[in-house]
């Protein structure tokens, strides 16, 4: 008969209405600022820059010394909404592998423009830019606080490990391997150079050329 479905639907909502007072399991929401759902590992919001801890480079702060970014500007070019602004440094500094690299003097992300597509992460050859899970970024200063500068963007590798453990540990593992391989190569090169020096004693060895 006409209207049967409507009655059944009304009964269903009535059951929800009264049920939500009785059983807490029915609740689909949490009281957000007080109660939080643990963030899932694959969550992604806006990009940040990873730095390695324990690096020293003169008087620079730790994050600046350990920044993985070499300011290659691939992410800047690939970014679909063009929200990344990078300024390359004039001089170089050693990276985690001991190699001399450029570093960003300016690295800004306009997170009001960013669309969280993760393309910058995909294209980064240095595992430097990664997606953050921080989402409480509301501010009343659109041109100040939503244009995030490098000092705010830089976050430690241990933080990265804490938010995306499996992904970060895979990368760490890979980097350790690379480092070990480089060490072996450097050792071999040094030995070869030493042998060469012993025989010719002409040129100093070029460190790190094997990378």
């Amino acid at each position: 008969m006409l209207g049967e479905g409507i009655l059944r639907g009304l009964a269903e909502t009535a059951r929800n209405f009264f049920g939500s007072y009785v059983s807490k399991q029915r609740y689909t929401t949490v009281e957000y600022p007080e109660v939080r759902i643990a963030p899932i590992e694959a969550a992604r919001v806006f990009p940040f820059l990873v730095y390695d801890e324990g690096m020293k480079d003169g008087g620079r702060p730790e994050w600046e010394a350990g920044l993985r970014c070499t300011s290659c500007q691939i992410c800047e070019k690939e970014c679909p909404p063009k929200c990344i602004f990078i300024e390359k440094s004039k001089e170089k500094k050693p990276d985690a592998f001991g190699k001399q690299q450029f570093y960003p003097v300016r690295f800004d992300i306009d997170i009001s423009v960013c669309m969280s597509c993760q393309i910058c992460v995909e294209v980064c050859p240095f595992d430097s830019i990664k997606m953050d899970t921080q989402f409480e970024l509301a501010t009343d200063d659109r041109f100040g606080d939503l244009l995030v500068h490098v000092d705010k963007l830089a976050k430690s590798n241990s933080y990265y490990n804490s938010i995306h453990p499996s992904e970060a540990s895979a990368i760490d593992h890979h980097r350790e391997e690379t480092k070990a391989m480089l060490a072996v190569k450097a050792k071999a090169a040094a030995e070869a150079a030493a042998a060469k020096a012993a025989t010719a004693a002409a040129k100093p060895p070029a460190a790190g050329e094997g990378a």
Binding site: M1, L2, G9, L10, A14, N16, S20
Partner: protein, 391 residues
């Protein structure tokens, strides 16, 4: 004692009028009544918005607003402050004067409807002979306000929403009127006070409400459907379907004018619920004869709020109709059935007292409903769409 509580507002009014010179009393009495209506119903509106948000939340297993004040009770005040302090934006190409006038016309037309609703024993602002006609005349005027709002905004969404709203309101107003007409046929009066008094009688402990008759139940169902459509409530909320038309005819309104539209929508809901309970649910009369000591206005307002709750319940349950479904439903099922119901009502009137008319009319109403539902609401296979006017 109970008499005093029943008539407390009348006594209060007379007490205030006692301080005025005799010549001013009739005018001042009307002004007091208007002030009471203008204060009570917006307050009820604030309460209803909160109830609706809480109720809808519960139906979707959410708690609803619960931040402002205890249990979110102060939410309406926060909403009011927000909408009053918002910037009032008028589009540059809009037709300024009509854009300004539309919400005013809407709210005024809706408020006028309350003038004839009997909200308790002796509690009616204007006891008019043609009260029902007056009510529908005011309801018809609010359609024009909707059109004015949609057209003057110079926005395609607004105009589309307005045209949808007007087409829908016109179609369902016919049904609203015809289902009310059944009551008029039985009572023999267009006066709403007379209609309530006719229902305020008891057989045993049961009242003579119109809904407790076969034709009254059918008429009430059709009235409820038409009232839902007339107030643009879900599932007939096509004129303001957010997913298609942003907000329909009030897309280009902000701040206080938007609040007026919102107020107008809820006031229309109150007045149409009030009329529905007056016509079918016995107005201010008590549901059982032994409950007559409870003040009459309490009964009126509880019936009103009950209807509002059903509105909210429907909104929480049903998905929105498509435009062609809406029109098909109105013209192919609801209208024919209402006309059929009118005939059954006439039969009821002429069969006279006795059990025969109960049997005959019940059988006729149920048979008509089932048959008409089968025949006119058959599932049809839709061919390619044809556009009649948009070419």
């Amino acid at each position: 004692m109970f008499q005093t509580f029943d008539q407390i507002f009348i006594l209060l009014r007379d007490w205030v009028l006692g301080f005025l010179p005799v010549g001013l009393r009739p005018g001042a009495g009307v002004v007091l009544g208007v002030v009471a209506i203008v204060c009570v119903f917006p307050a009820l509106f604030a309460l209803t918005v909160l109830l609706e948000r809480k109720g809808l939340g519960r139906m979707q297993n959410r708690p609803g607003p619960n931040r402002v004040g205890p249990f979110g009770l102060l939410q309406p005040i926060a909403d009011a402050i927000k909408s009053l302090t918002k910037e009032d934006i008028v589009p540059t190409t809009a037709n300024g004067f009509i854009h300004f006038l539309a919400p005013l016309v809407l709210v005024v037309a809706v408020f006028m409807g309350f003038a004839v609703l009997p909200m308790g024993r002796n509690m009616v602002l204007v006891d008019m002979d043609c009260a029902l006609l007056f009510y529908f005349a005011m309801g018809a005027s609010s359609e024009l306000a909707v059109f004015m709002a949609g057209w003057s905004s110079r926005n395609k969404y607004s105009l589309l929403g307005a045209m949808r709203a007007v087409a829908q309101m016109i179609s369902y107003e016919v049904i609203l009127l015809l289902s009310g007409l059944a009551v008029v046929m039985i009572t023999g009066s267009l006066s709403l006070t007379r209609i309530v008094e006719a229902q305020n009688q008891y057989t045993g402990i049961f009242p003579h409400w119109n809904i407790f008759t076969p034709w009254g139940l059918a008429g009430f169902l059709m009235y409820a459907i038409a009232a839902t459509a007339e107030t643009n409530r879900s599932p007939f909320d096509l004129p303001e379907g957010e997913s298609e038309l942003v907000a329909g005819y009030h897309t280009e309104y902000s701040g206080f004018k938007f609040a007026l539209f919102f107020l107008g929508e809820y006031l229309a809901m109150f007045s149409i619920s009030g009329l529905g309970s007056t016509l079918f649910l016995g107005g201010w009369s008590a549901p059982f004869s032994f409950l007559q000591w409870v003040p009459s206005w309490i009964w009126f307002f509880s019936k009103l709020m009950l209807s509002i709750f059903v509105f909210i319940w429907m909104r929480g349950t049903l998905p929105r109709l498509r435009q062609d479904q809406l029109m098909n439903f109105a013209w192919k099922f609801v209208l024919p059935f209402t006309l059929y119901n009118l005939m059954v009502t006439a039969l009821w009137r002429f069969l006279g007292e006795g059990w025969q008319r109960w049997v005959v009319c019940t059988v006729l109403v149920v048979a008509g409903y089932v048959l008409l539902g089968r025949v006119s609401m058959r599932r049809e296979h839709f061919g390619p769409r044809s556009y009649r006017y948009a070419e």
